[in-house]
Symmetry: C2
Subunit: 186 residues, 2 copies
């Protein structure tokens, strides 16, 4: 962002709920969304996290934190998609998560909603991205911020979004035989 | 991470404190670090955040959250480097932040330390990256995780690190004249 761009922004003084997309093959897509959740919570904003892949039985560090902070957090998936034994069940859960998210979005009760790992639902054809965009255009409250995370964000979503970041893997400890570690990576 | 890489990791069973670098020109470098802080805090890990650019007078959403959560958080910079009126003072502060960080790192009192926006100190020549790496090799407790954020991470640091992610700007709302908004971007 150049100083020139900042001046344009200040001159136009546009404030709006942002559509934020964190995509790419690297770490930090969900983690940055959770950092935004922390920041929003710090300012007293009303936050809701809806997870499309993580299951309600999961007990990651971020979920333990959310519980302590009384942040509304719904893990509606059934675990890791690519290990799914019953892909129709996984698909049904993702579709249910989107129906659930629609209620939350349209309710007007939130300042920030995170749709974590939702891109997989587009990628697998469980939710149609054009239908989603058309629905959001009509039903998303103007000041609500929405963060959608996951690999392979569809071009239509990127075109519609306000802020898109690609998290790109440069180097990962798995390559050196290091295990993922609690509290840091999950 | 392929299943093969996971198997290698499981077989080697290496656990170690990771050197994590979040770099690139996009959003989410610090935000992902703060997400990791939330996750680590959720698991009861001992966390310390040291900011090299943000000033102690700053009152961002993440700082408000840290205060509520009693997370140790030190903002030792003097604001935005590239607007610095007294670059020697800014440099002194960055060098002081590194001395301060060395004490915290060597103390053995933490599981995760974030050195936020530290890369600018390398970039401007205020801290020498090779000296830092040599010092860490001797003094960093084996299980301590370290996250270093900021643009232009030096190649030496990338070579030394375990986990490196590039946050790449794909699209930013400044380009459409939208202001940065509290609770979301700061």
């Amino acid at each position: 962002m150049s100083e020139e761009q900042r001046q344009v922004a200040r001159a136009k003084k546009i404030k709006k709920g942002l559509i934020i997309v964190n995509t790419g093959n690297g770490k930090g897509k969900s983690t940055a969304a959770f950092g935004t959740v922390l920041r929003a919570w710090g300012r007293g904003l009303r936050v809701c996290v809806i997870q499309f892949i993580k299951a309600e039985t999961s007990n990651y560090g971020e979920i333990q934190a959310a519980r302590k902070l009384q942040i509304e957090w719904h893990s509606l998936g059934d675990g890791f998609t690519w290990l799914s034994k019953d892909i129709e069940k996984t698909a049904d859960r993702a579709r249910h998560a989107w129906t659930f998210a629609q209620e939350k979005i349209a309710s007007g009760n939130y300042d920030l909603i995170v749709l974590d790992e939702m891109t997989y639902a587009f990628h697998h054809g469980w939710v149609d991205v054009n239908t989603l965009i058309a629905w959001l255009k009509v039903n998303k409250p103007a000041m609500l911020h929405l963060i959608i995370t996951g690999r392979n964000a569809p071009q239509e979503l990127i075109a519609y979004a306000d802020l898109v970041t690609e998290m790109k893997l440069i180097k990962h400890p798995f390559d050196q035989g290091v295990l993922a570690q609690p509290g840091i990576e999950f």
